[in-house]
């Protein structure tokens, strides 16, 4: 064993700087958030008023909070429902490495290396009523049937905004989901598939009884990533894409938090939303994280 001459203290000192980052930038804000959530504070004045659970009571009695929470879960679940079938189909089609599949892989992974800001701006341009790509394509097709040009404000109409935003997020995220599923498929020993081929010639049966059960672990991680992403990094994306509008139809919980804090100067109230967000994300990720950690500790 290599580490025999190195003491536990040295190990501790080696880990300490990296751990300090975690402690300061995760635990620090979490504790600050918990503290602020039971206070009322405008962010400027020196005194803070202790208000107990008032912020939470107000939050749970506000319709805007429940609406944002519902929209957030719709986004999370719809993202899963949209991404998994597309990504699974892609991963199965691309699992063998040939020159053609490598090219397809690159094309489908590429959006994942773009910045969320660039992608959001790009989709605002695509959905633009007058010069946007989407309306132009629809206008061309409509022309074949003798119909006039289309000037639809996809992100501005209450009944299309959320669906349009979901198309944009799927375009951006499906590459990563595909990559993860491909990695999962790579982890399936070929003998399993060969054995299954002897048993049944039906591709559907093989998919159902061999491939999908072996992908369960990866699926779990995808669920976690998509859900925590919907409460996390999609906030910046939606903020640029729609700003939460129209009429709050695309307002995620994080947008409501951001508006209450940075725009409304209600730091106590915004921190209460932050506490709710932390509880949601923690309860989604904790089990899979412990599972990954346990696996890694075994070897």
């Amino acid at each position: 064993m290599a580490g025999r001459r190195i003491s536990g203290w040295t190990a501790f000192l080696l880990v300490l700087p990296a751990f300090a980052f975690f402690a300061i930038f995760y635990l620090g804000p979490a504790l600050t958030g918990a503290y602020l959530s039971v206070h009322e504070w405008n962010g400027i004045s020196a005194d803070m008023e202790f208000v107990g659970l008032d912020n939470f009571a107000r939050l749970f009695n506000t319709e805007r909070f429940w609406s944002a929470l519902a929209i957030n879960w719709i986004v999370a679940l719809a993202s899963i429902a949209l991404q998994i079938p597309i990504a699974l189909g892609l991963a199965l089609a691309l699992s063998r490495r040939t020159r053609a599949t490598s090219a397809y892989r690159s094309a489908i992974f590429l959006p994942q290396v773009l910045s969320i800001a660039a992608v959001a701006i790009m989709w605002v341009l695509i959905y633009d009523p007058y010069s946007g790509l989407l309306n132009k394509l629809i206008t061309v097709v409509a022309g074949w049937f003798g119909m006039g040009p289309v000037f639809m404000a996809w992100l501005g109409e209450t009944n299309t905004a959320l669906a349009s935003a979901l198309v944009a997020t799927t375009w951006y995220s499906v590459g990563l989901t595909t990559i993860l599923l491909l990695a999962g498929l790579g982890g399936i020993p070929p003998e399993y598939d060969d054995a299954a081929r002897l048993e049944t010639s039906s591709q559907v049966q093989r998919l159902r009884y061999v491939t999908l059960p072996m992908l369960r672990e990866v699926m779990l991680i995808i669920f976690v990533l998509v859900i925590s992403g919907s409460f996390g990094h999609l906030v910046g994306f939606f903020l640029l894409l729609t700003g939460g509008g129209p009429a709050g139809r695309t307002e995620l919980l994080g947008i409501y938090m951001y508006q209450s804090g940075m725009r409304g100067y209600q730091f106590g109230y915004a921190s209460a939303i932050s506490v709710v967000l932390v509880v949601i994300v923690l309860s989604v990720v904790i089990v899979p994280v412990l599972r990954i950690a346990r696996q890694r500790l075994e070897y």
Binding site: G3, A118, I121, G232
Partner: protein, 279 residues
Amino acid sequence: MTTSLTPTTRSRSFVRHALLLSLAVMSLGPILWIVSISLKTQREFAADPFGLPARLDLNAYVQVLTDERMLRFIWNSVVVTSVAISLVLALSVLAGYALARIPFRGANLLLVLFILSDAIPLFVVIIPLYVFLNQLGLLNGVWGLVLAYAASKMGLAVFIMRGFFRSIPSEMEDAAAIDGAGTFRLIWSVLLPIALPGAIVVALFTFVSLWNEYFLAAVLLPSQELFTLPAGLASVFMSRYSTNWPLLAAGLVISILPTVLLFVFAQRRIVEGWTVTVK
């Protein structure tokens, strides 16, 4: 496997390629459209936003790259990401080594916390984070953002480096230890060269994700003077260039160019960083 080209398999493979091709077009189409806009003059764009540009007009790029504000955004991005990456690399190598090789009490808990920190986006605490960093006096310049960036990537980086050190046989360290090398010399001169592939994976995925980060930058940077490229582009998009699409498109293309180029040349390693938690 058998590749007998019966009519059914041949038509099935045709359908498969047609589907894949249309998905690839959907994936790349929007990006190519933006590139085509960036190569047009504003008048040409107003006349026809969709056709290919009549000739390559690089005026929009010249304008963006001579815009003092844009240059400042680019410079800020370079500074912020390179300092954060250096911090992540240096500290994750040390911690990854200790967690991989030295048995000590609390190591398991630390590993769980590092993985946990990767699974929780910092966005969910953006308001308290802002208040907290403000109290520490870190929001007068770029330091608050740089340190938050380093923290947000530290967990996964430690996890990857630990995995890499575990995959290296320990004989070389034993030999160096017998030679009497100290712990730090052991790490820097013996282990680091071997762990270099791991460090490259860490550097690449950290770069891609931090170069692209938008929301933390927009909230934690005190003034537009200090904005990074994504934050700057977004704020400019909200105001000035939004009426001049070729200019905006050129800015977008310039902002995505570094990560796209990196992706073209180092796709396998970048993908490795993304998939490390599922392998």
